[in-house]
């Protein structure tokens, strides 16, 4: 295996663990498609960041996009609570409208230059080993994306470990959490903020479909297998790694898109787990044990 392969698999794994840890909580909150919404809704943020800075460096793009991501989650909450809209409708209204605003901004202000999501935001994981960080003396330390992925993972692990109990109780029983003095609103925004930041930082390096899929598919596969949140998070990490490694191997064998192959493998693992469960008839023990 070449060093490039290791870099790609490692970067994909680190990003997918970040996505999966947050995605598990989104899934349990029935907000799994929020990642998809954020992926679209950040467009105006990118355009505005470009118009202000005049640069296409990710230093500018990521904060611009992330702030729109947070705004998106705020609007979704707002329409859901204040206008009484169902969550899925609130998500649909918000991200399509923001995406459209982004398109108008591009066509009016940035039509002459090459600025769109494909080039700015939707990275390609195959290029990860090409964009490297070097020391002043010109020595190569490693791919930029790998370090971004590592930093992001550290932040997300810290967030989930430190906030584990608050996230657990406000996801399972928000009314009880609020009654016992835990700020449900704050933890919701912290989670959504983390999702925005992670989504944007990750698809800058590895591409959009990959991120949206990694938020949902590995946690969903883990959810099939366990009734314990800690084990679900652990299995999410395992499936994140398996999808990335198998995906890379598959992509090399087919000489195709790595992101596509990783998502295909994640989906394949989901189906495999589901079918295996069906065949083994190991339904989660639903029989009741009445007290007498």
């Amino acid at each position: 295996m070449t060093m490039d392969a290791v870099y790609i698999i490692l970067t994909a794994t680190l990003f997918s663990i970040s996505c999966g840890l947050l995605g598990a909580f989104l899934l349990l909150r029935r907000m799994a498609m929020v990642g998809d919404a954020i992926a679209h809704a950040v467009l105006p943020g990118i355009v505005i960041a470009f118009l202000i800075s005049g640069s296409r460096e990710s230093v500018w793009m990521i904060p611009g996009a992330a702030s729109l991501g947070v705004l998106t989650t705020f609007l979704i909450e707002f329409f859901h609570r204040r206008a009484g809209l169902q969550t899925d409708a609130a998500i649909g209204v918000t991200f399509t409208a923001l995406f459209a605003v982004g398109i108008i901004l591009i066509s009016v202000f940035a039509g002459q230059i090459d600025l769109d999501q494909d080039c700015v935001l939707y990275g390609e994981i195959a290029y990860v080993p090409l964009d490297v960080w070097m020391t002043a003396s010109g020595e190569v330390i490693g791919p930029k994306a790998l370090f971004i992925a590592l930093g992001l993972l550290v932040l997300n692990v810290l967030f989930v470990v430190l906030g584990y109990r608050q996230l657990l109780v406000s996801t399972f029983d928000p009314a009880f959490a609020a009654a016992s003095g835990i700020s449900v609103v704050l933890w919701n925004y912290l989670l959504m903020g983390a999702v925005s930041f992670t989504t944007v930082a990750a698809f800058n390096s590895v591409g959009a479909i990959l991120v949206v899929a990694l938020l949902v598919v590995p946690p969903a596969t883990a959810y099939l297998l366990t009734h314990s949140l800690k084990r679900m998070l652990g299995l999410t990490v395992l499936f994140a790694f398996l999808s990335s490694a198998c995906g890379y191997v598959l992509a090399v064998a087919l000489d195709g898109s790595i992101a596509g192959a990783i998502v295909t493998c994640a989906g394949g693992l989901f189906v495999l787990v589901w079918v295996t469960q069906l065949l083994l008839r190991r339904k989660p023990a639903k029989e009741l044990h009445p007290l007498t």
Binding site: G163, Q166, F176, A178, A179
Partner: protein
């Protein structure tokens, strides 16, 4: 008809609550006594759950205010416990019985502190009280309705509060669980704690509670069960619903008979 509690634990002052500008509670003003098992009774949509959610600060108040132990909620939050309706959560959630009961100890923990051995012991004791200690490692997806309700009760007991608000703890549970829950609530009140229960079953209400609040968007009556659980006031609460009215008359008659037999 309204009786004033001496040294009230809970006070509602001119409380009005609205959902999307539609009022759910109008001008409710009442006081509730300490150490009593208190039933909030009224027809569907009468605002029973709304009343205790308002007390727990879970809903914005249109006007009025609530005092618990004579103070604002935030000052006494650790002394107050809330048990939501069982159906309000997803019981397929990946958690064990112990995980859920330990949530009753979270409010006392900071960001970094994990539940201590003592917290675990309190949680386990609470599970023992509801007869579920043997189920502590069971996943909540595998529980029956009655067992779910017992777990919710254990979580509330683990909070070691002085005042309990419970939303329909007797709804949809088997007879054994109903008896077990009632016994626990009676133990709580006999040790001086106050338990306020949203209840929709008129059949059992008269025998369960010391104090009854009759509610139908407005306060109809609040007072000791013997003074307030009368045909006239129940009729006023349930308004011209004939079938209900007939049932109410029957109930009051039965209660008078059984009351005579008892004492």
């Amino acid at each position: 008809m309204k009786f004033t509690a001496e040294n009230p634990v809970v006070e509602f002052h001119d409380l009005t609550v609205a959902y999307h500008r539609k009022p759910a509670l109008w001008n409710v003003d009442l006081t509730l006594p300490a150490g009593a098992l208190i039933g909030i009774i009224g027809p569907n949509g009468a605002g029973k759950s709304t009343l205790i959610k308002a007390a727990m600060g879970l809903l914005p108040l249109s006007s009025g205010y609530v005092r618990l132990f004579g103070a604002e909620l935030d000052a006494v939050r650790r002394r107050v416990s809330y048990v939501p309706q069982r159906e309000s959560v997803d019981w397929d959630f990946p958690a064990s019985v112990m995980d859920v009961v330990l949530m009753g100890r979270y409010a006392g923990l900071g960001l970094l502190k994990r539940p201590s051995a003592q917290d675990r012991e309190i949680a386990l004791n609470s599970l023992e009280k509801v007869g579920m200690a043997g189920f502590r490692n069971r996943q909540i997806a595998q529980l029956s309705g009655g067992q779910q309700q017992r777990v919710f009760l254990a979580r509330a007991l683990a909070q070691e509060a002085d005042l309990y608000f419970m939303d329909e703890p007797f709804a949809g549970v088997d007879a054994a669980t109903e008896a077990a829950i009632l016994e626990i609530l009676q133990e709580l009140t006999s040790s001086g704690k106050t338990v306020i229960v949203v209840h929709h079953d008129l059949q059992s209400a008269a025998s369960f509670f010391h104090w009854v609040v009759l509610l139908n968007m407005r306060l109809v009556a609040s007072g000791p069960v013997d003074e307030v659980f009368t045909a006239a006031l129940l009729q006023e609460t349930y308004g011209g619903r004939l079938t209900v009215l007939a049932e109410v008359g029957e109930l009051v008659r039965k209660r008078q008979i059984s009351g005579r037999e008892k004492y």
